[in-house]
């Protein structure tokens, strides 16, 4: 247990600069977009005022007030970039041990004890990064709202806190949903880990073939399952949901089991 935590710490230590940089960059960009939107809106109103020779309140009525929902509309793009970066991290966290001047993978595989701790250290690193990102993103949203209110002139603002549709999907005001999102994210991470370990266990062509096979297997399970359920046509909707949840859990466990097996028996430096 202790070694697993130390290994996790080591993984995070190596990526720390990157993690902090990405967080600061994303937060800064988001806050900048808010500031930018407020200023742009104000300029729009002022320009329209002089162009159409209207009073401020009339101009605002035509152009419309600016709501926080509108001002924060670019956040979803930043979040998407964040997701891509996390996926890249999930892949890089393995490959960096093989590439470069020193090959840390040797050291990891030579450590005494079970190799499972190698896998779970990297897995936990991803988990912590993902949860931190989600939590910090919320804090940035709140912070942006404060900045938004402070910056915008009272008349120009459409009242009350609301988020864009995309953000509402992520922040549904329900903690259970958050757990689910994290769970699905970790499933994706586990799946990626399995593919990486497949590639690292078999040489070139064989590795690629196995990857394709695994992806095909996943597709077979999902599509094949839905097909069978529809054809049989005997299940109630709750039963279908239960079946799908069960298959998801089983496959999730499979990806981890397979990864651990590869790491123990098939991995190659």
């Amino acid at each position: 247990m202790k070694q697993y935590l130390m290994l996790t710490n080591e993984e995070l230590k190596r990526s720390w600069k990157m993690i902090v940089s990405v967080i600061l960059a994303m937060a800064s960009i988001e806050i900048l977009t808010i500031v930018g939107r407020v200023i742009y809106h104000e300029r729009q109103v002022k320009e329209y005022m002089s162009y159409a020779k209207l009073s401020e309140s009339d101009a605002i009525e035509t152009i419309g007030e600016l709501s926080f929902q509108q001002a924060s509309s670019y956040f979803s793009y930043v979040i998407m970039i964040g997701i891509v970066l996390v996926i890249l991290y999930a892949i890089q966290i393995w490959y960096r041990d093989w590439l470069g001047e020193s090959k840390y993978i040797y050291r990891l595989l030579l450590l005494p004890g079970s190799r499972a701790k190698i896998f779970f250290a990297k897995w936990t690193s991803l988990a912590l990064v993902i949860i931190s990102f989600i939590g910090l993103q919320w804090v940035v949203i709140q912070l942006s709202y404060v900045i938004f209110n402070w910056l915008i002139k009272d008349d120009y603002r459409a009242s009350s806190f609301n988020m864009s549709m995309a953000l509402k999907q992520l922040y549904t005001m329900n903690v259970v949903d958050l757990l689910l999102i994290v769970l699905v994210s970790l499933f994706v991470v586990s799946f990626l880990f399995m593919l990486v370990l497949l590639e690292r266990s078999y040489r070139k062509a064989k590795g690629l073939i196995f990857i394709i096979l695994e992806v095909a297997f996943l597709l077979l399970i999902t599509v094949g399952n839905m097909y069978v359920i529809e054809k049989l046509d005997i299940f109630l909707s709750q039963e279908i949901s239960a079946i799908m949840v069960a298959i998801f859990v089983l496959y999730f466990v499979y990806t981890i089991w397979k990864s651990l097996r590869l790491l123990k028996w098939k991995i190659s430096v």
């Binding site: 070694q3 130390m6 080591e10 190596r14 470069g100 001047e101 020193s102 090959k103 840390y104 040797y106 050291r107 595989l109 030579l110 450590l111 005494p112 266990s201 040489r203 064989k206 028996w265 098939k266 991995i267 190659s268 430096v269």
Partner: protein, 226 residues
């Protein structure tokens, strides 16, 4: 005794790297695995340590399957790039219950290495010496060394060669791969000749010299020029 039985490794149907390799390493001795480049010497060491998968074969240490009695010194650096020597030594102490920090300190002094040096900024010779420290400072009976002399200067080679006749060798069984026979021929107890993935010859060096009147180098020429 470290025993290797029937190691087999193939890539696909045609390329066979190891074909039933078997040999043993006695404690308190130095065994040298000799072969031309690309013959699979390195692969054998890695296979023993579980760093590459094999299709068949077992490795036993005193009759048990246990890698944790063997230390391995690879021919490249294995610590994360940002680490200093001090960081690496702390790392080893953290993860290995059989890490001997006293021996590590002594060897560091002997090799004149500083804990503040960044590993990847060291010269090749110093890097090689440092790797040796990581191997010898583990209280393990068997030690595998992959090309410990490759590409380093004469002076460093002598320093490294010295350690093989020092008290740090007490009771240990060493298995090493190397091309540089000349400098250490006098230290080697046993040679194992590898060709085309097979063990083609095995001799105690003393026996070879006294009985057959040949040096290891002579024997090498014979074996590989057939």
């Amino acid at each position: 005794m470290l025993e290797v039985h029937g190691l087999k490794k193939r890539y696909g149907r045609k390329k066979s790297i190891l074909e039933g390799v078997s040999f043993s390493v006695r404690p308190d001795s130095i065994t040298c695995l000799i072969g031309l480049n690309g013959e699979g010497k390195s692969t054998i060491l890695k296979a023993i340590m579980g760093l590459v998968p094999v299709d068949a074969g077992t490795v036993l240490v005193d009759g048990e399957v246990s890698r944790e009695k063997i230390a391995f010194v690879p021919d490249l650096q294995t610590m994360p790039g940002y680490m200093t020597i001090g960081d690496a030594l702390t790392y080893m102490g953290d993860y290995y219950p059989d890490w001997n920090s006293k021996v590590a300190e002594e060897l560091m002094g002997l090799f004149k290495l500083l804990t503040t040096d960044k590993i990847l900024e060291l010269s090749k010779g110093n890097q090689a010496k440092f790797s040796l420290v990581l191997g010898f400072a583990l209280d393990r009976q068997y030690l595998l060394l992959d090309e410990p002399f490759a590409g380093i200067d004469l002076f460093t080679k002598e320093q490294i060669a010295w350690i093989f006749s020092s008290h740090y060798m007490e009771g240990r069984g060493i298995l090493m791969t190397t091309h540089e026979i000349i400098e250490i021929e006098h230290l080697i107890d046993r040679v194992v000749f590898l060709q085309d993935g097979r063990i083609i010859d095995e001799h105690d060096t003393e026996e070879m010299r006294e009985v057959y009147g040949k040096s290891v180098q002579d024997r090498m020429r014979e074996v590989y020029q057939r």
